[in-house]
Symmetry: C2
Subunit: 141 residues, 2 copies
DNA sequence: AGAATAAAAGAGTTTTTTATCTTTTTATTG
DNA sequence: CAATAAAAAGATAAAAAACTCTTTTATTCT
């Protein structure tokens, strides 16, 4: 479903939500090791998220990546859209160039339900809320 | 969501459902041109589906690909599983190696709803039924 | 100011997916 | 039975995604 990059990105964002804040930033290396994900590759992803203001970062000593209050009050949709592109939520499930209610593909109507589930997955809880649940229930990232 | 290969495959199966039968088989070329999909590539996909008995084929003059009665009374799940692998319906949305009800990833519970939508998409109508709707409503493939 | 630290940016490399080309096998028909 | 049509199989090529390495830039601390 999501690309590998996108999965890494979501997990990294959750990790940052739990372990970082404006006073305690994390280096790529720490995050990469914690998630068991290739470091330099994750760096690229985090930089991209940072450019799009979905996470925050500062350079230099004691610098690193972190989530601002605003960042963690957002939901995961922006993260996904930033990495995989906004089309993941809208593009035709059969890859047809035009596919809409007036010009639907054979699977269009059922795809709506599926897509609804997908949106709920990333939209109806904030990053902070997900992170809280992870902490409370000791979930793995 | 589905790979490009899988999208091609689904569309090709629907095309066969509408335009072929045991008495009238279609060559790869015709299907590829009708769907505007790369011919040799589609050939590979159709061969794979044929090997897995999701579509039927015969060689030689007047040979080609077609759907048997049995083929068109099946649903699309087999087609998807044959091309993209059965994991698409079961694997963790965050790519975690272990993710289950007792050991859920942070998005597990919502992912269930989403996954349900995905399964309905491919499971609760037969290929024949989809094809019928395509014909009746003159949908594009 | 200078050294050290860490992200940002740029330039590769590898692997996987998508696509093509060629040869072989099988069936059909005249 | 020879010619032909079409799938099957194999080998190769191009494009995209995943991953790595090197250099630059910004920040902090002494």
């Amino acid at each position: 479903m999501f690309s590998k990059s996108c999965k890494y990105a979501i997990r990294a964002v959750l990790y940052l939500a739990i372990h970082s804040n404006a006073e305690h930033k994390l280096g790529v290396k720490e995050v990469a090791e914690a998630l068991d994900v290739p470091g330099p590759f994750l760096a690229k992803l985090l930089q991209q998220l940072s450019r799009h203001h979905l996470i925050s970062s500062t350079k230099g000593p004691n610098g690193g990546f972190y989530l601002s209050k605003a960042n963690s009050n957002a939901n995961l949709r922006g993260v996904v859209e930033s990495i995989d592109g906004p089309e993941v939520f809208t593009s035709c499930i059969l890859g047809l160039p035009v596919c809409s209610s007036n010009n639907p593909c054979p699977l269009h109507s059922r795809a709506l339900i599926y897509r609804q589930g997908l949106l709920e997955l990333v939209e109806d809880q904030t990053i902070k809320e997900v992170a809280k649940r992870v902490e409370r229930q000791e979930l793995k990232i």
